[in-house]
Subunit: 199 residues, 2 copies
């Protein structure tokens, strides 16, 4: 394909994703154009489209990759925790940290506007499927009510922590540190409420 060997192709794709990820993090999706991504990789701008249909598709790849790394991190962090409430609280706290630093959250509106609804729906469905095993692994540690919830619904509830991060500035406008206070109480209350023993 246009003179790229399979090996070169793989190496270039990898560098495009890494470069796109760095630029996305620093400048956001709109201020980054395709040439900004291909220049450091040393390929022509037109060659970009041999690898991705659009800039948005590269961003989806970046989001997926961040998400995979997050999941690997979570798996590692939850190892050896037997109490489902403790495990859930840890998961929610890691997710909050992830949401606070993730470019998908930071440049949420811009990204949502640049990615097509169909691609976005696919991404959402894939991500939920990727995250479900984490919830299931905590459910295996529980013999109480937590084991009965649908993993996707629990993930939706975890998503409220992500929305808090999305709206962080609004919360901090009320008073410094308000976001952190609210986040902490929400994390603790949700983890406790999802796992509290039946009375």
């Amino acid at each position: 394909m246009h003179g790229f060997s399979d090996e070169e192709r793989e190496r270039i794709e990898e560098r495009l994703v890494e470069t796109g990820r760095e630029l996305l993090r620093v400048y956001g999706p709109h201020k980054t154009n395709v040439k900004d991504i291909t220049d450091p990789v040393g390929i022509a701008k037109s060659s970009f489209y041999l690898f991705f249909d659009s800039k948005a598709e590269l961003y989806v790849e970046v989001v997926q990759r961040e998400s995979d790394e997050f999941l690997a991190d979570v798996e590692h962090e939850l190892e050896g925790i037997t109490d489902p409430q403790v495990a859930l609280e840890r998961l929610f706290r890691l997710y909050a940290e992830f949401a606070e630093t993730n470019p998908l959250i930071q440049y949420r509106e811009e990204l949502l506007n640049s990615i097509s609804p169909a691609l976005l729906e696919e991404l959402g469905t894939e991500q939920l499927a990727d995250y479900e095993p984490i919830v299931e692994s905590i459910q295996e540690r529980s013999d109480g009510r937590f084991s009965e919830y649908e993993p996707a619904t629990v993930l939706g509830v975890m998503g409220t922590i992500g929305y808090l991060a999305v709206h962080r500035e609004e919360l901090d406008a009320y008073r410094e540190g308000y976001y952190e206070e609210v986040r902490e109480l929400a994390i603790v209350a949700l983890a406790r409420g999802l796992t509290a023993p039946e009375v």
Copy 2:
């Protein structure tokens, strides 16, 4: 003042707020202009500014009024409930309903863009102060951990239910009814987690 008696002034202001509220609900803040509001009230467009400095200020009044009505409704609905978990769950459910139908949520971005940051901060602070007594009244029914939380932080946690409503479409894009499932589990888990007895 321009030939309006005190009585007329009061009546006109009331009708401006009510007309603004209806138009805001149906058309949103951007598609509504000052003349759309003054015409049904029967005053000249220029007279609007004898009552409000800007359209945004009228909207703030509408938001305040919706909020006051919500609070009166909550107070009524919580009467006679002695269990803090039941009271909190009821409060969160009423708030979800309020958020789902409130023009402030429905036209959130537009309104946030049209109201100045200073006015917005004032509105946020006022609303928190208005809502705190509700949390305090539930805290009076509790001798457990719930009585120890700062009311403003509890309100921030309740706000996560509002953010869910803001992002309702995103959730329902995943699967029909997903928003409702997530909202229900979040409400129940938060109410339980905030009031669960110490172990």
